[in-house]
Amino acid sequence: MSVQGKLTLLCDAKTDGSFLVHHFLSFYLKANCKVCLVALIQSFSHYNIVGQKLGVSLTAARERGQLVVLEGLKSGVDVFFRPREEPHPLQFLREANAGDLQPLYAFVRDALQPVDSGEAAWRCPVLLVDDLSVLLSLGVGPVAVLDFVHYCRATVCQEWKGNVVCLVHDSGDTEDEESDVLLNGLSHQSHLILRAEGLATGFCKDVHGQLRILWRRPLQPTTHRDRSLTYQYKIQDKSVSFFAKGMSPAVL
């Protein structure tokens, strides 16, 4: 695994980019990495079912300690029933003014901390967040989310040479200032941006969308053209097929 210490930003516009999250989850589990999944959108069983189609068992991974999951939908409710002294990763749900995401960062740090134990160590730690845009809807400010990602980058990427993968939604034409600040701020922090876009002409049965790949860092000064690629894709039951623009087998 040559790519280490990188922040990959997954972004979707007018389409659903969650297939990328499932891909990276199964990819890193198969690569024997220690994975922390902050799942704020779907339940654990959803990721498990999709993971099985892609060839990994999340339940087994969790049991052997390779996978740590924060199930936002379930544990979000716990915040209100736990005694106040115990900090909860989603503590901000309880605050009147959603402050910062330090408890969530502490959870990630504790989950991925390299442990010096006798057993075989996992490969580099990986943090997957699905997704960051929902935090804005829950009342967290964009700067607080950017700070959380900053700290994850400093600890997981820089210190432990692991990877961070986050999904964020592009609000597009709707003038959502907070969402734009979050997306642009994350783009500036990222090494690699994968942008799934719906086709400009609308929904199509055979071409589900377009994927733009943009490398931003490290700063090897190269021309803009060398740094980005575009493919179109179709999502199938157990895989995704990619092809060059206009070259879908269905339209030839």
Binding site: D100, Y105, D226, L229, M247
Partner: protein, 300 residues
Amino acid sequence: MLESLLAVGGLMLLRDSVEWEGRSLLKALVKKSALRGEQVHVLGCEVSEEEFREGFDSNINSRLVYHDLFRDPLSWSKPGKALPGGPLEALRALDKRTVSGPATIALDSLSWLLHHLPCPTLCQTLHALSRQDSCPGDTPPGEQVRVLGLLHEELHGPGPLGALSSLAQTEVTLSGMMGQASAQILCRRPRQRPTHQTQWFSILPDFSLELQAEPPLESQPRSDPHTPSVDPTTHLTFNLHLSKKEREAKDSLTLPFQFSSEKQQALLRPGLGQATSHIFYEPDAYDDLDQEDPDDDLDV
């Protein structure tokens, strides 16, 4: 003009965007300052010290002092690795460090500082830092302090951007076209008119600045060497190829409506060797065979 940017003191804003990043230009200017023998202080908020120093040789790295606000800017870690006093104190401390001699302070980035400090406080601190309260005539050019601030344009509203812009002596806005980066430079000198200039440039891997001429306006269609050319006929369910025999037969075929010399001769000699066509008709029981011309009773 890009070369002479460092001749003037004061605040210089490097305005970049997601598409045209400005950190490499910031590093190129830092390298230039270091090579001139100046002290360079970098307040690093967005990238680690390791990443910022990457690409610089040891000569430059020895002149560069990195103040690390990246690892723990908000004191979340225990034990704390933060700079004491947080971002504001770290910024103010730079003022005291550059007391003697010409110096360059690089702020990477002003956007981060703007997100974490109130805008008026930041502006006041920048004003003090770039020695703008003393008249330009008092400080000899050799003692000037330059402050280079990297600013990500899309992250801020017009208010803070306008406030920083009014503080700056120089503004460099990064953009580009067709893979070539350009800098729009706006210089404000006291008692002079602001000057605009556009400079095309590129940054070499060792972070030296290379000025370039403006690229030609017509866009050449470029075949992308990285994308392998895809043959569209590979996955079809029908055959689009011709064998050699088929190709020969196709080439020797005379088209029915093509007026060749043979056709012309055949038309000029009718009936020669041409069999006329016959129609064989078996009338049904219901057919009414009337030999008269149906148009006879017309009075035309």
